[in-house]
């Protein structure tokens, strides 16, 4: 053969193989789905950036529960697709559409950042995709944007603030300064604190905001020092929380103006914060040292599986899997029975490591809030801040 002919023949063979390969790849997934195949779970979580540790903890918690059930929920195995949302609201719509349109997931589990969550909620409403929110507390998801196919097993942004406001008023603090990032989660947390604190007789002197995700706090710490409130309420999470707590202590404010926080200030960050966090009071729906058998067993299993301490994000991931499991069991694994699935999930009573939890009519979790104090590198519960606290779910048309 001449060189040209050999080349042409080679190209033809490669072309034929390529076409066969492409057809095979397109055809194959369509075969094993529906009732018999695996349930496709799409994780849309931050795997990079300041919330990366939280994303990982959520996925770990989810997979821990599935593993405990022998790898099957409701008799069906699960397969996972992950998308890194980088906590970037600008890319969120594209990212969630990848999961819904390209990957055809049966259920989306995500995410951490409230700004990204808004895009996910909108997409889930538009496409009627089942969505379980394992962290983002943006009030709207179980408020004006609530929907039957959207569930949240974590918290709403105002809940920890509502609980801490009660505590602060009871403790006799009269004035407060608040500080947080200027984004939905921060504003709603402050809103919750302000509501119960002022109802209890306190007064918020000034609400201080830092642009997200800026971590230069010195200017505002000086502001707090000049305002001289009786306490400070702060909402930060991740890397920012570490720096804020360290800066607050370094500025000598910790002794003069007690720092109160939503639990995220000290969750997953105690190793990095060191002595600066000792004695801090926070409210959260979880505390590391809860002595219930359920929590002890959970923490042991998590430590064994992932060689790290479980935190509230791991619990939320774990409970997302529990909720999905309850739904799948009720419909015998048949995701086509949507109304029955929704009814079962909405009525779920989950035995969570944090205690028994249920869902409100707007599909947000109803749970106890603990008052925690940092001691010996752990968030120790020193009592209940609020019992069975439900988010008012203002604006939700369900129930």
């Amino acid at each position: 053969m001449t060189t040209n002919e050999r080349g042409r023949q080679r190209r033809r063979i490669v072309g034929a193989l390529g076409a066969a390969g492409v057809l095979g790849a397109i055809g194959a997934p369509g075969l094993a789905r529906g009732q018999g195949g695996k349930v496709k779970v799409g994780f849309m979580l931050p795997y990079t950036g300041t919330y990366a540790a939280l994303g990982r903890a959520i996925e770990n918690g989810f997979k821990l529960y599935v593993g405990e059930q022998g790898g099957k929920l409701g008799g069906r195995e699960l397969e996972y697709v992950t998308v890194d949302d980088e906590s970037e609201p600008a890319k969120a719509a594209d990212n969630v559409n990848k999961l819904i349109k390209r990957d055809n997931v049966d259920v989306i589990v995500g995410t951490v950042h409230s700004g990204v969550q808004m895009a996910i909620v909108k997409a889930a409403r538009d496409n009627n995709t089942l969505l379980i929110i394992p962290n983002a507390g943006v009030d709207e998801a179980t408020g004006p944007l609530c929907a039957p196919n959207i569930f949240r097993v974590s918290f709403s942004n105002s809940q920890p603030g509502l609980a801490m406001g009660l505590v602060a008023a009871l403790k006799g603090y009269t004035t407060a300064a608040t500080i947080t990032w200027k984004y939905a989660a921060g504003e709603q947390s402050i809103g919750g604190f302000k509501e119960t604190f002022e109802k209890g007789g306190g007064k918020v002197l000034k609400e201080l905001y830092v642009p997200f995700p800026n971590v230069e706090f010195q200017a505002l710490l000086t502001e707090i020092a000049s305002l001289k409130p009786t306490c400070t309420y702060a909402f930060f999470a991740g890397g920012g929380a570490v720096k804020f707590v360290k800066d607050y202590a370094a500025a000598g404010l910790k002794e003069k103006v007690p720092l109160l926080g939503a639990g995220f200030l000290t969750d997953g960050t105690l190793d990095a914060q060191g002595a600066a966090a000792d004695g801090l009071l926070t409210t959260l729906h979880y505390a590391d040292n809860l002595t219930t058998p359920r929590n002890i067993a959970f923490r042991l299993a998590y430590a064994k599986a992932y060689s790290s301490k479980a935190d509230v994000y791991a619990v939320q991931g774990y409970d997302s899997a529990q909720l999905l499991g309850i739904g799948l069991r009720a419909v015998g694994g048949d995701l086509g029975q949507r109304p029955l699935l929704i009814r079962a999930m909405a009525a779920a009573e989950i035995d969570s490591p944090r205690g028994r939890i249920s869902l409100s009519p707007s599909h947000n979790v109803v749970q106890d809030f603990y008052l925690r104090k940092v001691e010996n590198g752990e968030n120790k519960s020193i009592g209940l801040a609020a019992k069975a606290l439900a988010d008012p779910g203002r604006g939700c048309s369900m129930g």
């Binding site: 795997y47 990079t48 950036g49 300041t50 990366a52 540790a53 994303g55 990982r56 200027k182 201080l208 905001y209 830092v210 642009p211 995700p213 800026n214 971590v215 230069e216 010195q218 200017a219 505002l220 710490l221 000086t222 502001e223 020092a225 000049s226 991740g238 890397g239 920012g240 929380a241 570490v242 720096k243 360290k246 800066d247 370094a250 500025a251 000598g252 404010l253 003069k256 997953g268 960050t269 190793d271 990095a272 914060q273 060191g274 790290s308």
Partner: protein
């Protein structure tokens, strides 16, 4: 705002500005003198911070961690320039951006594989952990003052290096007219490798020194990178003095902006950059190398 609070805010501004200068100094060197847009600068800062964390956990003391950390950074920068960056000098800025952006992604993933994604803290060395009381309102940590002192020392050293040493003369000459310098028998390639290594070492040193006052977390390089570019653009490309002045300006605008105009504080620094560029398009202290 009474006088003592005002003075404390001034102190905050200066301290922030000096820290920013320390981080941006490496970028000024590389961008200004070599003409390479190094987007990976923030990653070197991040790598420095993580190196401080790992080395301090191993040696137990931040001071013992700084020397090996900087040495590692110099070697790393030298090798990186040799293998990747040396191909970029004759190319367009777009290709430099693509390569260095790719490096950002690679470094983030390598870091994630090597050390994980958790948030970490580095303890302030015991010798420097005291705090100075500022009036009755608040205290100022001694360590932050040390960071500022370190920044000033670095600024002085850089100035001496560039203006009063033979190496500095060769570097500046190589930046102005590469061909002429090469024809005089000076190895320009080696020269640029040294400058790049120096730039990386400065970024890593800044990361190590700032780590105890901050926190070590994924993505920490990206925020810092944008501010560094703003510093270099405002100060004038190639001017170390310009970078110092620009960094201090940004420190003041950011600090007082947060206090007086909190709703717009995020945009104020960029507004400053826009105003400076309208007034002096080449930056405040444009070095005339032509």
């Amino acid at each position: 705002m009474d006088l003592s609070i005002f003075l404390i805010q001034v102190l905050n501004s200066v301290q922030y500005g000096l820290t920013l200068f320390l981080v941006a100094s490496g970028l000024t060197l590389i961008f200004g003198i070599m003409g390479v847009i190094n987007l990976a600068h923030g990653s070197f800062y991040m790598l420095g911070a993580y190196a401080a964390y790992t080395l301090t956990s191993l040696t137990g003391n931040l001071f013992l961690a700084i020397a090996p950390g900087v040495a590692l950074a110099i070697v790393f920068g030298y090798v990186l320039e040799w293998i990747f960056v040396s191909f970029l000098y004759e190319r367009s800025h777009l290709q430099q951006v693509l390569l260095t952006y790719g490096l950002i992604l690679v470094f983030e993933d390598l870091r994630s594989l090597a050390v994980g994604d958790d948030v970490h803290g580095v303890a302030v060395p015991a010798a420097l952990s005291a705090s100075i009381p500022l009036g009755s309102t608040m205290t100022y940590p001694v360590y932050n003052l040390c960071i500022s002192a370190a920044c000033l020392v670095v600024a002085a050293l850089l100035f001496v290096l560039l203006r009063h040493t033979r190496l500095g003369m060769m570097i500046r000459a190589g930046a102005s007219n590469r061909e002429m310098v090469r024809s005089l028998g000076i190895d320009v390639g080696m020269l640029f490798r040294i400058v790049f290594a120096l730039g990386v070492a400065l970024a890593a040193f800044a990361g190590m020194v700032a780590a105890p006052a901050s926190s070590v977390y994924p993505g920490m390089g990206n925020q810092v990178l944008i501010l560094c570019f703003v510093v270099v653009v405002i100060g004038g490309i190639g001017s170390v003095t310009g970078a110092l002045v620009a960094a201090l300006l940004i420190g003041f605008v950011d600090t007082f902006g947060k206090v007086f105009l909190p709703d717009y504080s995020g945009a104020l620094v960029y507004l400053l950059m826009a105003v400076v560029l309208v007034w002096r398009p080449a930056g405040l202290f444009r070095e005339t190398t032509a």
